[in-house]
């Protein structure tokens, strides 16, 4: 028994620190396989982008046709259309370009390895291969920055080698000769060949990355839009209604996330969102056209009746300017250019005014709303607080909102009528976004997420200095994510 223990111990002692520098082609193969793995992922990613872009375009097309066939009379304004395609496609294309460039850079970082011969310790057969650390040829500046740690490391490595040399001096050459016979074959292969071989091996060896860096998701976001709004005094004087409410709506889109570290990831994507406001049932004095009639032009017989009807039907009225056939009205979000008198609305002009500009009052039953459709491209930073099957993330960042739809509607007994659009709306606006995301992993790849998020426009989306209209939207972004 004693002897048995002895051989175990003796072998262990003898072999514990045993180390041999492996032939250089192994590192090349390792790198080749790692690079090939990345490339495959990128190719898969570009496919996803393309697929997502198609889906998105289909969605947008559907949305557009749906919008243009709204039940409306001849007064329907259609002007939100051409923006969509031109806005969205360049974005996705440029993403594709970026990816290709990254790929190219990746290919440039082919590694060089140098073999240095070191005659040492009297053993002339000994060949110690030292791997060069300077393997990123592509970026000189990067290389320079990282130079000091590399040197340190080489020293460290040199130490290790020296140890090995000491350790191996007693050993016979049999083992090393084995290597020597194997190596010449390896060196007849060019670097490209090796890379190719490595890439081939890697493509066969499709081990999935446990560490999935990319995430893609489709979202719908039911939400509530409202606004912070201020008007100049002169503007407000011609705005006789005041009761504005928000607007519930559904947005959605697709998101791409990239994990930059253990807890941080960045997100971008393309979203569709709506912002708008409604004005209704606001006029206590001029609540209905009948009221106007009774108050201004005729006896007050109908007043009591109107008081009753006012409760049930929301009514809208406002001062308008009629100029060369265009009806302009100071709306909450800016001046609205009405294409024509909406159905079911009356415009009463002030007969006593003789000037060219004839101010009047538009009275209509129903609700008046100004609605803006946005295509939003977010750039968000996500921080993962809880990193388990159930995850919690903090989200914050910027959103570029491109106005693709700008419409004013009156909703009355004639249906929803598109009556015009708001003037002076900036096409591109910046908003801030913040939210808390909760996700649950259904499997290795698929997860579902719910994320309440607030989008708030920093600046007025209306360039008219008289109007400061900053919409915000609280959306519950609900979607499915695919990690790869």
């Amino acid at each position: 028994m004693k002897e048995i223990k002895n051989i175990d111990k003796a072998v262990k002692e003898k072999l514990e620190g045993f180390s041999v520098v492996p032939p250089p082609h192994i590192w090349e193969n390792v790198q080749g396989q790692l690079a090939a793995g990345k490339r495959n992922k990128r190719i898969a990613f570009t496919r996803w982008i393309a697929a997502a872009a198609v889906v998105l375009l289909a969605m947008l097309a559907g949305w557009y046709f749906n919008n243009s066939t709204q039940p409306d009379s001849q007064t329907t304004a259609q002007q939100q259309t051409p923006g969509i395609n031109t806005v969205v496609t360049p974005k996705t294309r440029s993403k594709g370009k970026e990816i290709q460039q990254k790929e190219l850079i990746g290919e440039n970082t082919t590694q060089t390895q140098s073999n240095k011969k070191e005659g040492n310790s009297g053993n002339s057969q000994k060949q110690i291969t030292v791997l060069s650390t300077s393997n990123t040829v592509a970026k000189k500046s990067l290389y320079k920055k990282n130079l000091p740690p590399v040197r340190e490391n080489q020293l460290l490595f040199a130490k290790i080698n020296r140890k090995e040399i000491r350790f191996n001096t007693l050993t016979t050459e049999i083992f090393l000769e084995k290597h020597a016979t194997a190596e010449p074959n390896e060196f007849t292969l060019t670097n490209e060949d090796k890379m190719l071989i490595a890439a081939n091996v890697a493509s066969k060896n499709t081990d999935k990355f446990e560490n999935r860096r990319w995430k893609m998701g489709l979202n719908v976001s039911p939400g509530y839009s409202s606004q912070v709004v201020n008007h100049s005094e002169s503007y407000a004087q011609n705005m006789s209604y005041s009761g504005e409410t928000g607007n519930t709506n559904i947005g959605g889109g697709f998101a791409v996330q990239y994990k930059t570290g253990k807890r941080f990831s960045i997100e971008s994507g393309v979203y569709y969102a709506q912002n708008g406001q409604k004005s209704a049932a606001s006029m206590n004095l001029f609540a209905s056209k009948n009221d106007v009639g009774s108050n201004y032009y005729s006896s007050n017989e109908s007043v009591s009746m109107d008081a009753v009807s006012r409760v049930s039907t929301p009514t809208f009225s406002n001062t308008v300017n009629i100029n060369n056939g265009t009806i302009l009205m100071n709306g909450n979000a800016g001046i609205v250019a009405l294409d024509a008198t909406p159905k079911g609305a009356e415009i009463t002009t002030n007969a006593e005014t003789k000037s060219m500009i004839a101010p009047g009052t538009m009275v209509a039953e129903g609700e008046f709303s100004q609605v803006f459709d946005f295509i939003e491209i977010p750039l968000l930073l996500r921080f993962r607080i809880l990193d388990t099957k159930f995850g919690i993330e903090l989200v914050g960042g910027l959103n570029t909102g491109i106005v693709v739809g700008n419409n004013a509607y009156i909703d009355n007994s004639y249906g929803v009528q598109n009556v015009g659009s708001t003037q002076d709306i900036s096409e591109i606006n910046l908003s801030g976004a913040a939210g808390v995301g909760m996700s649950y992993a259904l499997g290795k790849h698929i997860s579902v997420a719910v994320e309440p998020r607030l989008n708030y426009y920093f600046n007025s989306i209306n360039s008219n200095p008289e109007v400061d209209f900053r919409p915000y939207r609280i959306g519950i972004y609900t979607g499915v994510y695919y990690a790869f």
């Binding site: 041999v20 650390t133 016979t172 083992f175």
Partner: protein
């Protein structure tokens, strides 16, 4: 030493971020030792090279799972051992089970082992029948018990014990033969 450890931590973190330079550093630092581990488990150096390559790819793919608890070298070594066991399973699952046959142990002194080189010893270990070699390595070098070995290798504990005994037996005999050769020269 402390600084080296800090450096290592940094290198590992950069590897997690996928930086090629850090990967090269890590490889440089550990490849020789890990090659040594692989050589012990393999039949020849070609197989050891394959295992080393596969092992390192695994290391880089899963490096984010290293939690900086315990030694990194130990973690890496475990990966190399696992790759070696996997390779063994693929190649030798049909290897016949030999009966237990404990040889009487001859007197064996450490001195003999001192006389032969590390390379020779590795050569002798590589010459062992594959399963004996695996069991011997796991028991002696990784310090595993027979229960653990039986699980890893998918064999019974009895087989593990007998394999270990046989491995020792063969090694002793071979070491002695080699020693004699050295002496008679």
């Amino acid at each position: 030493m402390h600084k080296d450890l800090e450096d290592l931590k940094e290198i590992i973190e950069e590897c997690v971020a996928g930086k090629a330079q850090a990967q090269a550093k890590l490889y440089e630092l550990f490849a020789p030792k890990m090659f040594g581990v692989c050589l012990r488990y393999a039949t020849d150096s070609a197989e050891a090279e394959d295992n080393l390559q596969e092992g390192f790819i695994k290391v880089f793919k899963h490096i984010d799972k290293f939690k900086h608890k315990g030694s990194f070298e130990g973690w890496m070594r475990r990966i190399m051992v696992n790759v070696s066991i996997e390779k063994y399973r693929k190649q030798h699952f049909m290897y016949p089970v030999e009966d237990v046959e404990i040889y009487e142990s001859n007197v064996f002194s450490n001195d003999i082992l001192d006389e032969i080189s590390v390379q020779e010893l590795i050569g002798l270990i590589q010459e062992l029948p594959p399963r004996y070699r695996m069991v011997f390595n796991l028991f002696v070098m990784e310090g595993m018990g027979h229960k653990e070995i039986s699980k890893e290798m998918n064999i019974s504990e009895g087989t593990s014990k007998s394999n270990l005994a046989r491995a020792r037996e063969i090694l002793q005999r071979k070491v002695k033969n080699l020693y004699r050769e050295v002496e008679t020269k």
